[in-house]
Structures are given as structure tokens and as C-alpha cells.
């Protein structure tokens, strides 16, 4: 039984390490491609927002973001806003990121919007 606990503990630590690593790649991708419009803190007030016709999405808006599936976010990043019936100003990043990288970016976006909500639901 003790061995089983040890294995479970090891697995938990390993998986949380994996998620942290993914999130780190996602964070770098977010900084490079997203912060210019969505802001350094993801609140939608990036340096480019001032003269834009449509305000970039606030990724810290839990209520709004929790209604989007991971697939919605993936498609919006890969194919652009138009592909999810949103603003054309959100470009398609398919030539800049692989699908695996976009997956990691989605994980990071979730940490901005929904981590608090998930933690409170767990409690």
C-alpha cells in the first residue's frame, strides 16, 4: 500500500512538472504573439489596443472565457477570429505555430482566465 502511495505521489509530481513545462512554452508563445494586443497581463489592453476598431478579448474574464471550449480557442488561434465568428483583427497564426505549440498556448490561456474558477469549483 505504501508503495502504491509513493507511485501515486511520484506520478502527481511528474504530471504537475509536465504541465508547468507546457505552460512555460505557452507563456513564451503568449508573450511573443498575443501580448501586443491582449496585453502583458492578458486583460485586453495591449500596446496596440488604443487604435483598434474592436477591443481584443480580455483573457482574464473568467465568466466569458469559461464559455469557450479549448477547441474554440485552438481554432481562433490557428485560423483567426473570423473562423469562430469573431473579429477579423485576430489573425490566423497557423504559419507561426505548430498545432502542438497552439495546444500549449491554449493551456497557458486557461491559466489566465480559468484557473481561479477551477480551484474554487474544486473546493
Amino acid at each position: 500500500m505504501r508503495i502504491l502511495h509513493c507511485i501515486l505521489l511520484f506520478l502527481c509530481l511528474f504530471l504537475s512538472g509536465q504541465l508547468a513545462a507546457e505552460s512555460k512554452i505557452g507563456q513564451e508563445l503568449y508573450q511573443a504573439y498575443c501580448t501586443q494586443c491582449h496585453g502583458k497581463e492578458g486583460d485586453g489592453w495591449g500596446v496596440n489596443a488604443a487604435t483598434m476598431d474592436v477591443l481584443p478579448k480580455d483573457h482574464t474574464d473568467t465568466k466569458e472565457m469559461i464559455s469557450r471550449t479549448d477547441e474554440d480557442i485552438f481554432i481562433a488561434i490557428k485560423k483567426g477570429g473570423k473562423a469562430v465568428s469573431k473579429s477579423n483583427l485576430m489573425p490566423n497564426w497557423d504559419a507561426n505555430m505548430t498545432d502542438e505549440e497552439i495546444d500549449e498556448l491554449v493551456v497557458f490561456v486557461r491559466t489566465l482566465c480559468c484557473q481561479k474558477e477551477e480551484i474554487s469549483n474544486e473546493n
Binding site: 476598431d53 483583427l89 490566423n92
Partner: protein, 233 residues
Amino acid sequence: MKINTLYLKAILILMLFQFNPSVNAKELGEVLYEENCAGCHSISDNSSITLSQRLKEKAPTLFYAGNKFNPAWLENWLVEPKRIRPGGHFFLDNVIVTEEGDAIDESKLMDHILVSDVQAKQITEFLMAQTPKSDLIALEKVTFGKTNRTLGEKNFHKFKGCGSCHQSEDGYGGVSGPELYTSIQRLQPAFISSYIRYPEKWDPKTLMPNRHLNENAIEKLLNYLNLIAEQPE
């Protein structure tokens, strides 16, 4: 040791320059490049660069400078450099979070070094000899045509979203990308066309998206860039 080698090279080239000034201007430019530019600008092949490396670059690559810049503009600019990217090379290095939203901290932006007329000519000669990716340039045929300013502006800002990152006039448009109202003076039209078509082929970790525009759409954008180009004084 590296500095000593550079000085030796410079002396040798200066001696050669006495006998054949036109041929060796490029070599003098190389020495000047190594001394003044290489600390921030890379000139090596960028095809396997990682995103982390790209974000740590202090200035744009000059790997394909000869296929990118208009030489007359480059020479003049080196003597009297003006900022082209309102947010700096990588905007995030210069961002501060304010109550009104993110802003560029002007105090973080560095001025470009300036050189003499003669040095600018020599550096330009050297940089214009850097012409990899010419196969991409060969695919482009640019001829400017008439365009309507109102429609062009709407297309640039609203339909194609270029204005989100690029300025179409001083102070109007995004600040993370280079200003585009001076693009026609700065850049070779075939390069602009090719960069819109395949940004990732020029710079694998470019921050510019490939919007998969067709020939007609690229032509429209180029005509608009030509229309908004500031005329040299």
C-alpha cells in the same frame, strides 16, 4: 584579441583601398559592420532560430539586407537614423502596465548609432551584398497602380488588420510592428510583396502572421503603401 584582428584587417583593407577604392568599399563596410553593428544585428542564417533566441535579439536580422532595403534610403538613414518601430525591436521589452492599458516606456528605447557619410556608404555596400533568399524575390512582380485612399485605409485597418500592429501614418495604428507609411522608401517593393506572402520564409520566428492573401489582395496593399508613402524632402 578580436579587436586586434579587426584593426589589422582594417589597416590591410585601407592599404588596398589606396589602389582600388571601388572594389574595397564593401570590405571596409564589413569591418565597420563588425565594429559597430554586429553587437546588436545578426547577419547569419536565421533558418533554425528558436523563439527564445528570436525574442532575445536586440535588433532586426540583416541576413538578407541586400534583398530588403533600398540602398539610397539605407545610406541616408545610417547618417541620420530615425526610429522605425515605435515599440522597439521587441515591443514587450519596453512595455509598462498602466491604468490606461499597456504603454511603451519611451525611456527604454535606445537611439541607433550614427555614422559619417563615408562610413554609411561603405556599410551600405557591404549590407547590399547580403542577398540570400533571392529565389523568393524572383517570384515577385510589382507594378504600382491607382488606389482609393478611403477604401485602401479601410482595407488596411479593418479588413486585413495590418493597422493593428503597424502605423499607416505617424501616431495612427499599432506600435508593435514597424511603421508602414515609410515602407516604400525603406524597402524594395518585391521584398514587401514577398514578406506579406511568406513572412515565415524570411524570418521563421517572425511576429507577423501569414494571412494567405491572394495576388490581388497583395497588390491592393502595396498600392495603398505606395499612396501613403511619405515623400522624401
